[in-house]
Amino acid sequence: MVGITAFGAYIPFNRLDRRKIAEAYGEPVPPGEKAVANYDEDSVTMAVEAARDCLAALQPGSLGGVYLATTTSPYREKLSAATVAAALDTPDTVRTVDFTSSLRAGSAALLAAADAVHSGTDNVLVAVADCRTAAAKGQFEQLFGDAAASFVIGSSNVLAELEDACTVTGDVLTQWREADDRYVRAWEDRFVVSRGYGPLVTKALASLAGKMRLTPGDVHKLVLYAPSHRYLAGTARSLGFEQSQIQNGLFGEVGLAGAAHAPLMLASALESAQPGQRILFATFGEGADALLFRATANAGRFMPHRGVTGHLQSKKNTMNYLTYLRWKGMLDFEPPRRPDPERPSAPAMWRNTRNNLAFYGSRCNSCGTPQIPAQRVCVHCRAKDEMSGHRFADTPARIATYTIDHLTVSQDPPTVFAVVDFEGGGRLLCEMTDCDPAAVTIGMEVEMTFRRLFKAGGIHNYYWKARPKR
C-alpha cells in the first residue's frame, strides 16, 4: 500500500486584513485576511517549516527523497530542494527534485513520489510552498496568500492510501509569468473558467470516477483547487457534491496560495479524516490532476506538530498595507547610512553547510557543554577536538537579553537581536523574527525558525532566527 504517512502545514504568522487594502485604495475587497510571508521568508523557508511540521514522527535519516514544488523558486538555476533537504538534515543520498512552473507542481510531485515509492524508494517528502506576488491594487493582490504544505509518501504506516489518480493535460493560457515577470498575468476570468479550469478539472475527476466507479456520495471530502471562492462552490456543486463535502478553500483565512493551495486544503482534510473516508483531491494548471485517497485504520494516529488548525490560530493580523508592500519589495524605502551586506563566500558556506542549514553546533565529549556555532576548542573546559555534532533546531530556548536595533540594515526595521539560551545548554546571539519588538522580554520562550537572512550578489543566504513560541 502506498500513500500519505505524514502531513504538515505552514502558514506565515502575519496576516493582512483585506480591509487595509480597501482603506488604501477606497475600493471594496473580499472579506477576511490573507497570509503574508515575512520579508525573510520565501518558498524554501516555508517548505522547510511545513516539513518540520510533519517530520515530528519521522527521522530525517529515513527519507529517500525530498521533492520541492513551487512556482516561486528563489533561483532560476540552482536546486532549492537541496537546501530544503540540508535544512532537514537528511542524508546526502536523498533524491532531490524541484517541481516548478505550474500550479499543478504540488500534485505532480505527489504523483512522482508515489511512483518512486512503488518502485522501491521509501519515504519521499513532498513540500509544496508558494508566495506569488501580484501587482498593487489588483484582484490578485486581494486574493493571493502565502502558505506551504508537506506530505511524506511511503508504504508503511500509511494514513491515507493513494487509491488511484488521473491526469489531463491541456495547454490553455489561463495565467502565467514570463521568465522576467514579477507579477502574475491572467486572461479574462470567463475564458479561464469556461475553457480552462472548468472542463479540465471536470474531465480529470470524471475519468477518475469512471475508473473507480465512484459517485459523489462515495466521497467524504472534495479537496478542489479553484481560482476563487465562487468557482470552488460552483464547480463542486455542478459535479454533484453537497456543500458539506467541499473542503474549505481558506480564502478568508489564507488566500489563494498558488501551487500550495490545494495541498494545504488536503493537509487540513487529513486532520479530521476518519478510517475508511475517501478524499478526492484535484489541482489545476495547464491541465488537471485528480487523486483519490482513502483514510486507513491509521488515520488519527498521526497529527502534525501544529498543522493547518494550529497555524491558523497562531497569527498577528495588525500589519498595515505599507508594511506589506515593503516586505514584498514593492516599495523602495530610503536605505540607512550603512553598507549593504557583502555577498557570502561560497567556500565558507560550503564548509558550514551542515551547521548553517541543519543548525548544528557541537557538544563537548569531555564536559558535555553544548555550544553553537560549533567549536573545536571547548568554550567551557577547553578540551581540543573532543566535539560531537549537536543539533539545536528543535531545542526550546529562552531570551537571556535582547536589543531593538534601529540602525542596522533591514527590510523592516527595527531589528530585534536576542541572546537565546537553549534548554540543556548552549547560547546563541541571533536575530528575531515574527515578533512585536515591544513585547519581547527577558525570559520569553522562543523557538528556532529557518529564514533567509539576506540576498546579496544573487545569493540567498539562509540561516536560522528565533521567534516567540507560536
Binding site: 540607512p336 547610512r337 550603512r338 553598507p339 551586506p341 557583502e342 555577498r343 557570502p344 563566500s345 565558507a348 558556506m349 564548509r351 558550514n352 548553517n356 557543554t369 555550544q371 553553537i372 556555532p373 567549536q375 568554550v379 567551557h380 537571556a400 537579553t401 535582547y402 536589543t403 531593538i404 536595533d405 534601529h406 540602525l407 542596522t408 540594515v409 527595527p414 531589528t415 537581536f417 541572546v419 539560551d421 545548554g425 548552549g426 547560547r427 546563541l428 546571539l429 541571533c430 536575530e431 519588538p437 527577558i442 537572512l453 539576506f454 546579496a456 543566504n461 540561516y463
Partner: protein
C-alpha cells in the same frame, strides 16, 4: 614581571577631534607627530622606531612613513579594534624597555568621516554571512536590560543612570578645546534623544570623529634629559577574550570580563590593591553609556551592583572622589579608533603635569586609561596606568 617605571613619556601631540572634512588621515598624522616632536624638543630623525595604530584608515608602515617621509626606519602598523592606539603605545614601550631602541613614537589615527556612514563600519573578512549584523550600539545595549533586571532598577531609573553618565562626560568635554562636542547637554535632552538601540538613544552613543594623537617614549632613566616633568608608565595590559559570553549561559551581560582581567593584570603590575582609592582619575571607553556603567564595576571603582548608585551620587564627576573621563571621553571626542587610546593618554599627560586648565584635577598621582574593542561578550581590552613620579 612588570613594565612599571621602566619607560616614560617625554612628549605628546593631539589634534582636535571632529569632522575634519579638510584633513586626510595623512594630514592628521603629520599634525600629531610634529606636535609631539615639538613638545619633546626633538627632530624627526631623533625617532628610531614607530608604531602606528589604525583600525581601517591605512595599511602597513608606509601609511605613516610616506606622509612623514620617514627615512627607512622601522614602522609597525598595529590593529586591535578599539584598543589599537593603546596597543601601539604598549608595543613602543616594550621596544624601548628592551633596549632595542632608545626613542620610539607611538601614533594613532582614524579618518571616519570619509565613509558617509553613520557610526563606525568595519568590513569583515569574507565569510558565510550568518553572523548577526547588529550595529555597535545594539551590541552594547544588551548590557542595559540585563543590568537593570539583575539589580532591580526600573527602566526609568536605569535610563536616568545612563543619561547621567552622558551628562557628566559632555559637561567635562565642554571645558576641552580639543573635543568634538564642547557644550553641556541637559539631562532632559539626553533622556529624550531618538532611540537608536533600545533603551539607548542617540545621546547614549559616542560621536563619530576624525583625529590623531602621538606619544614619544624613552627609558625612565633617560627621561630627565628631555624634560623635567615626564610621566611614567606603571602598567600596560592588553587582553583578548575567548568569546565565551555569546556561547555560554553563565555570562549574564552585566560585566565585561576582558575589562576585569585587564584591570587585575594592570593593578598587579602597578602594585595597586584598592583602585577606588589609589587611582586619581581615569579615562575609560565610554563608547555607549552602559559600557561606562559596567566598567566602573569591572575595574573595581564600584562594588558589584553599586555603580549605578555611585553615578547618581556624582562619584565620577570632575569634582567627585574618582573623576572618570575628565577630558569629556568618547562622548565628547567621538571615537577615531586608532587615536582614542593615545588621546586618553594625552589627558593623563596633561593632568599629571598640571596642564589641564579648567579641567585640572587637584594633584593627581596615578591615572588609568581603558579601551574596549569588540563586543561585551567577545572583546579586546587595554588598560594603561601612568604616574607622576617613579617608584
Amino acid at each position: 614581571m612588570s613594565i612599571r617605571d621602566k619607560v616614560a613619556v617625554i612628549g605628546m601631540g593631539c589634534t582636535s577631534f571632529g569632522e575634519h572634512w579638510d584633513k586626510s588621515a595623512n594630514d592628521m598624522l603629520i599634525d600629531a607627530a610634529y606636535d609631539a616632536l615639538a613638545d619633546a624638543g626633538l627632530a624627526p630623525d631623533d625617532i628610531q622606531a614607530y608604531w602606528l595604530g589604525t583600525c581601517a584608515s591605512g595599511w602597513a608602515g608606509i601609511s605613516l612613513s610616506e606622509p612623514l617621509k620617514i627615512q627607512y626606519k622601522p614602522v609597525t602598523r598595529v590593529e586591535n579594534f578599539c584598543a589599537t592606539g593603546t596597543d601601539a603605545f604598549r608595543n613602543a614601550c616594550y621596544a624601548v624597555a628592551s633596549g632595542a631602541y632608545d626613542i620610539a613614537m607611538a601614533i594613532g589615527v582614524e579618518k571616519l568621516k570619509d565613509s558617509g556612514y553613520s557610526g563606525l563600519v568595519i568590513t569583515p573578512p569574507p565569510g558565510d554571512g550568518t553572523a548577526p549584523n547588529y550595529s555597535a550600539p545594539a551590541a552594547f545595549s544588551l548590557l542595559a536590560p540585563a543590568y537593570f533586571s539583575k539589580y532591580g532598577l526600573d527602566p526609568a531609573t536605569g535610563k536616568k543612570v545612563l543619561a547621567r553618565i552622558a551628562y557628566k562626560n559632555h559637561k567635562n568635554g565642554a571645558l576641552n578645546p580639543k573635543a568634538q562636542f564642547r557644550k553641556e547637554v541637559s539631562m532632559e535632552k539626553i533622556l529624550q534623544s531618538p532611540i537608536v538601540a533600545a533603551p539607548l538613544g542617540v545621546m547614549d552613543c559616542s560621536g563619530v570623529a576624525d583625529g590623531s594623537a602621538a606619544a614619544i617614549i624613552v627609558r625612565a632613566e633617560d627621561a630627565g634629559k628631555y624634560r623635567p616633568d615626564p610621566i611614567y608608565v606603571k602598567a600596560l595590559s592588553v587582553v583578548a577574550g575567548p568569546g565565551h559570553g555569546a556561547m555560554h549561559q553563565d555570562y549574564d551581560f552585566t560585566s565585561i570580563r576582558e575589562t576585569y582581567h585587564a584591570g587585575v593584570d594592570a593593578y598587579r603590575q602597578a602594585g595597586i590593591t584598592d583602585p577606588r582609592r589609589e587611582i586619581s582619575m581615569a579615562e575609560v571607553h565610554d563608547c555607549f553609556t552602559p559600557t561606562e556603567l559596567v566598567i566602573y564595576e569591572d575595574l573595581g571603582f564600584s562594588a558589584r551592583g553599586r555603580a549605578w548608585q555611585d553615578v547618581l551620587d556624582g562619584v565620577f564627576d570632575l569634582d567627585g572622589r574618582l573623576p572618570v573621563n575628565p577630558d569629556g571621553g568618547l562622548k565628547s571626542f567621538g571615537h577615531p579608533i586608532g587615536a582614542s587610546g593615545l588621546r586618553m593618554l594625552y589627558e593623563m599627560y596633561l593632568q599629571l603635569r598640571g596642564q589641564a586648565g579648567p579641567r585640572q584635577i587637584d594633584n593627581p598621582k596615578l591615572g588609568l586609561t581603558h579601551n574596549l574593542g569588540g563586543f561585551p561578550w567577545e572583546a579586546v581590552c587595554s588598560v594603561c596606568i601612568v604616574g607622576k613620579e617613579p617608584g
